[in-house]
């Protein structure tokens, strides 16, 4: 490559050392680690290269000045790996710190739970045989010695969150948890000091241990999906050709672009930033921006948007910020409104906590009063009331939802769906109306040759191999059909017209009808583009158009059958939407919609009480994605759409949408089952506690029993989703 790639934005300097992180594509085996690491260490100046196989990231350190960042990327390219530098997001490193502190808390709670249980089992068996009171007290004090510091350390995540909730006068599940733990510890300490038989140190610490397990798993799942999403973003990140001060072209990463930069956009490249054309003219395919499949003519002064595909001529453009009245400005304005209007969704667990906490605390208070009225001593009444609080401490309840979420997110991850929002599963399960965007969502983002079957295989292969030498989008669609991925030697591209080459001595041409001497070619339908190939007297006209994602028809059918009301809302012309709607048997469809129109449709549906799942990919879909109850985007979507979607799906098939809905519904029913299990557990345990029969042994058995039960129940989602995947 003649141009130099400027990657300085990604390099972190500390003294003489430079550090860069890269997301690496195609790492799949043990050999890759060694190949990449030893390959890079052979470069002069490289101090260290370490590949993290878990998140497919490579950290490279080198002595600044000896080589530069692009040499590292080039070296990886030579070894056979595409690597994309990226800047780790702050949120990601913060999450890594949280994960570490959660794991430490988990270790401390685990250590304390095991050692206290060792002492507790001795006390329990001693209580039914002949343990001396001194020994029992000694064991209780020893338990306190372990439990108090351990709970003070390991309970912090819960205490902090509970305190935050109380300060904002809200209730979350951590409030009853913290209260239960603190009361259990306080009462046990008092009982120990007064030489009583029962102390609940084991229950308090075991409770923390179970809850931390759930919390850590939830956190780990979120981190894993975020890391994959970060890598995908880095792989998508494109480079721009920028004119530097001296008028020379430098390749820079899109992240480094600033308003005012002058860029060159060649045919076949995507526009890297929003801006206006300074010189040149071309046809621009804005299907990723507006959904319109017909190319738009642009000349000097016309606005161009990120993600549009340049078809025919080279353009020089200037990067601008969103000016008033442009499409970007309108979309951003709508996004602000849609995001603020989105009613803050109350999670199932928070709703449960709102019901649960007052109920539990009232029951405890009533127990205290009841015992007093029935003639119990104040000491006994308080002890029994606290026992109620301990036994109701929502261990199973707090695990009921996160465990299902972790298992469901894992199942979705394996079927190619990455969740952006923590509560996406719950909202997905509630959706009853499904709105699809057409271009890029129901259809494939790249156009395909439609009439492949009409040509002799040999002719098709020649045409496709010749197409490999062209950067024109239509030629690239044809090139996908090539079985041999080597271009013909000596192929010449004539910009804006086509390519020609000598194949076995006779000339072959591929390009516009004019270029191939086929001006008499018949006109095709409006949404079909054509490319002509001539060779040895034979002529072929390839019809190229956006094709439906494979399996789209079956997926839409199944979704409709599962009770979803399917709509298509497209920014493309009605004439282009109709055949798609007919093929998918969707009766509710509209074409030619502006971003504001899409929101209007969603709002009307919302007023009717519908919960809308929006699936879209374009810049014009972003406000609708934010306005809908829940939203999904294919990974090929525009950046702004990806950031506003609750879930992103990978691959070329539409299947993940179906799987996401099915898994979410199953997850929701399991969550409800788990909540019921927790309720049943309480219905059995609370009367025992009110009657004053709870011993530490019963508390420990009930708590671990119910926690294990809900966790096992959550795992059932896994068994089902394995069967689902074909």
């Amino acid at each position: 490559m003649a141009e130099t790639l400027d990657l300085s934005v990604f390099v972190k300097r500390s003294g003489d050392l430079a550090h860069m992180e890269l997301a690496v594509e195609g790492v799949g085996c043990a050999g890759c680690i060694r190949k990449i690491e030893t390959g890079l260490k052979q470069l002069p100046g490289v101090v260290d290269a370490r590949l993290n196989f878990t998140n497919r990231r490579l950290a490279v350190d080198w002595r600044a000045g000896e080589i530069d960042a692009s040499a590292v990327v080039d070296a990886l390219e030579r070894i056979g790996y595409h690597a994309h530098p990226f800047e780790p997001q702050r949120a990601e490193s913060e999450e890594a710190t949280t994960a570490r502190s959660l794991l430490k808390a988990l270790a401390v709670a685990g250590f304390a739970a095991m050692n206290i249980m060792l002492l507790s089992v001795s006390v329990w068996s001693g209580n039914v045989s002949d343990m001396a009171q001194e020994t029992r007290d000694f064991f209780h004090w020893l338990s306190a010695l372990i439990a108090l510091p351990a709970a003070a350390y390991a309970g912090q995540p819960f205490f902090r969150s509970a305190w935050r909730a109380i300060r904002t006068r809200a209730l979350n599940m951590d409030v009853p948890i913290s209260l239960g733990v603190l009361l259990a510890l306080g009462m046990s300490l008092y009982e120990t000091a007064t030489h009583a038989t029962h102390a609940y140190f084991d229950s308090a610490v075991m409770l923390l241990f179970f809850l931390l397990c759930g919390r850590y798993l939830e956190h780990a799942m979120r981190r894993k999906t975020r890391a994959v999403a970060g890598n995908l973003a880095a792989l998508k990140a494109e480079v721009a050709h920028r004119f530097d001060a001296g008028g020379e072209i430098v390749m820079v990463s899109v992240a480094a672009l600033k308003p005012g930069d002058r860029l060159l956009v060649r045919p076949g490249e995507r526009v890297p930033a929003d801006g206006t054309v300074i010189s040149g003219s071309s046809d621009i395919d804005e299907s990723l921006v507006t959904g319109e499949t017909l190319p738009r003519k642009v000349v000097a002064g016309a606005p161009v948007y990120t993600g549009s595909l340049n078809h025919s001529g080279a353009l020089t453009m200037r990067v601008t910020t969103a000016g008033a009245g442009t499409l970007i400005d309108e979309v951003e304005h709508l996004l602000d409104k849609a995001s603020s209007a989105r009613s803050r969704y109350l999670r199932l667990s928070d709703r449960a906590a709102r019901l649960y906490a007052p109920l539990v605390h009232t029951t405890a208070a009533l127990t205290f009063l009841g015992w007093l009225v029935a003639g119990g001593s104040i000491h006994d009444s308080i002890i029994t009331a606290i026992a109620v609080l301990i036994i109701t401490c929502p261990c199973a309840l707090a695990l009921a939802i996160p465990t299902v979420q972790v298992v469901a997110a894992g199942a979705l991850f394996r079927s190619g769906v990455i969740l952006n929002a923590g509560d996406a599963i719950e909202r997905l399960a509630e959706a009853d109306t499904l709105i699809f965007d057409k271009t890029g969502t129901l259809t494939l983002p790249e156009p395909r040759v439609e009439n492949v079957a009409a040509f002799a295989p040999e002719l098709l292969e020649h045409a496709a191999r010749l197409a490999l030498s062209s950067r024109h989008p239509l030629a690239q669609a044809l090139a996908r059909e090539a079985r041999t991925r080597t271009p013909f030697p000596g192929a010449v591209e004539e910009p804006g017209q086509g390519v020609r080459a000598l194949i076995d001595g006779s000339e072959a041409r591929l390009g516009s009808a004019m270029f191939c001497g086929a001006a008499d070619a018949p006109e095709l339908e409006a949404d079909v583009s054509s490319i002509v190939f001539t060779y040895g007297g034979k002529r072929a006209m390839f019809a190229i158009r956006q094709r439906l994602r494979s399996g789209a028809i079956a997926v839409v059918q199944v979704l409709a059958a599962s009770g979803l009301d399917v709509h298509i809302l497209s920014g493309d012309r009605a004439a282009a939407v109709e055949p798609v709607a007919t093929a998918l048997a969707v009766t509710h469809w509209q074409g030619g919609l502006k971003p504001a129109d899409k929101i209007a449709v969603i709002e009307t549906l919302k007023h009717k009480g519908r919960r809308v799942l929006m699936v879209g990919d374009g810049l014009n879909d972003a406000p609708a994605l934010a306005a809908a109850h829940v939203s999904m985007s294919p990974i090929s979507a525009a950046h702004i759409a990806l950031t506003h979607a609750d879930a992103v799906f990978l691959g070329e098939r539409l299947m993940p949408v179906r799987q996401a809905v099915a898994t979410a519904r199953r997850a929701r029913s399991l969550m409800q089952q788990n909540l019921w299990l927790a309720v049943i557990y309480n219905a059995i345990a609370v009367p025992i506690a009110i009657a004053g029969y709870v011993t530490p042994l019963i508390a420990a058995a009930a708590m671990s029993g119910s926690s294990i039960l809900v966790t096992l129940n959550a795992l059932r989602i896994r068994a089902r989703s394995r069967v689902d995947v074909p």
Binding site: I33, F53, A107, F111, N115
Partner: protein, 52 residues
């Protein structure tokens, strides 16, 4: 019950040793790349380097 005099401290010491070992392994980054560790063990570089 005099056996408790050394049994209890020993139990605590063993538990604390385990905890300390875990915290050390955590802070030395041994859980940062668990999948990679499983594959790096298959690398024969060290063995090949020693072979004559």
């Amino acid at each position: 019950m005099s056996v408790l005099v050394y049994l209890v401290p020993m139990a605590l010491l063993l538990g604390l040793t385990g905890l300390a070992a875990f915290l050390w392994s955590l802070s030395s980054g041994q859980y940062d790349d668990v999948e990679g560790a499983a594959l790096r063990i298959l690398d024969n570089d060290d063995v090949e380097a020693q072979a004559p």
